[in-house]
């Protein structure tokens, strides 16, 4: 049976969750580990931590997050953000992360994907692709952006995704920068195009505002997993409610 995964994503800055989270009964709503544990209890299939720490001297804190998460949370978790070398990846995996996600560094030096896959296995080599719709600049009409969506690369999203798979990526985390933060739903067109082009799992990301959007990511986009942040963090919906909604829409998921 093929089942879809629901993945809450937490933005972490210097070891703290940045977007406000309003679970009233949490002792420390800014603690990423406490939130991850909550999501585990609610039935989340995985958790993604995106480390947005800018200063390099504070980067040690994400390792501590990984260590504490591995002690307390028994679902898979991925850490992305700021991983530039195999050593960066190794430190996170040894600290307890199951997968690492690379983005800008992989565009700068695609061999990084192969190096991580060779050393630790494809299953832990996630490539995050930030996509923007463009007019005619790339064959598919979707262009890869880096540096948090600020810098265009001239690369085609679909071609890059295919290349990532060939380089050893085990999964694609595809974020539509056009939709991110809009709550208008996934860009199912780019999701579907990437899903059809590669044979590895694709996580749809960016734009979820309703539970129906999660369903659309799977049924229309063909995604293997759906990632969302704000709808879970702000207490609008629980992961359990999202799973009920998926089940009602006929999508097999692990029940909460």
């Amino acid at each position: 049976m093929k089942t879809a995964r629901i993945i809450p994503c937490l933005d972490v800055d210097a070891g703290r969750v940045v977007k406000g989270v309003n679970f009233v009964d949490l002792v420390d709503a800014g603690d990423p580990v406490e939130l991850a544990r909550r999501y585990d209890l609610e039935g989340a299939d995985e958790v993604v931590f995106l480390d947005i720490t800018a200063s390099s001297d504070a980067r040690e804190t994400i390792l501590e997050v990984a260590r504490r998460t591995a002690e307390e949370v028994f679902i898979p978790f991925t850490i992305g953000g700021g991983i530039r070398t195999v050593d960066d990846a190794r430190r996170l995996l040894r600290a307890g992360a199951d997968k690492v996600s690379v983005n800008t560094a992989a565009v700068d030096r695609p061999e990084l994907i192969t190096e991580i896959a060779t050393e630790f296995g494809s299953q832990c080599a996630v490539v995050a692709i930030d996509s923007k719709k463009v007019d005619g600049t790339t064959p598919s009409g979707f262009e890869v952006f880096v540096h948090g969506g600020r810098t265009p690369t001239g690369m085609d999203v679909i071609e890059w995704a295919i290349r990532c798979e060939a380089l050893g990526a085990g999964e694609i985390l595809l974020t539509s920068m056009d939709r991110d933060g809009t709550r208008d739903g996934f860009d199912v067109a780019v999701t579907r195009a990437v899903v059809d082009a590669v044979n590895i799992p694709v996580i749809a990301s960016g734009g979820v505002g309703t539970l129906d959007h999660l369903v659309d990511g799977v049924t229309e986009g063909g995604a293997d997993a759906v990632l969302a942040a704000s709808i879970f963090h702000f207490g609008e919906h629980t992961v359990a409610a999202a799973k009920d909604h998926m089940t009602a829409a006929g999508i097999p998921v692990r029940p909460a």
């Binding site: 049976m1 995964r5 307890g96 293997d224």
Partner: protein, 214 residues
Amino acid sequence: MTAASPRPLVAVLDYGIGNLRSAQKSLERHGADARLTADPAIVRDARAVVLPGVGAFGACMDAVERTGVDALAHEAVEAGTPFLGICVGMQLLFEASEETPGRAGLGILPGTVERIPDGVKHPQMQWNVVDVVRPSPLYDGLDGDIWMYFVHSFAAPMSDMVTATCDYGGPVVASVQRDNVHAAQFHPEKSSTAGLTFVDNFVGLVRARTATAS
């Protein structure tokens, strides 16, 4: 044999690959004194041995041999020590794998690890229901649908050792047992409450055996 330890020593064989911390922490959670180690003295002293593994079969076998973990695994199995292989750690127990043709595995269990069925996405990276086909104490207390987390493109062959399967483009081996050797294709240490029960049951076996022996 000394008196039953309240915290049985479990050696999690560390041959330098992947995330072993979750396996260690899940065992500790159930009261085991779990150590990441390839030290022969500690492994020989252990009440149970866990062989984890992620990545490619050939790369893992290279690392297992380089660190001497192959001999320690054989020794533990032959001594009757409760043994648990996880994911690629399960696959390594077999004689070979279609993933790395020509590369010999540990050969503790007979058969060749096979590619999972075509027509479905590789790897299987998802939660799936585990169907218990032969009673195993590791599934004690798990009722209804048992959901476990899988990440793999290869799986053990069908045999009379199989204790559970999952459905992914056809039946895929999820776990096996032969005597003291237990192995799971899924990651119990990543399978939330169901996985923790599975680990708990393994620690329970270790405790029961230690108590009997003392």
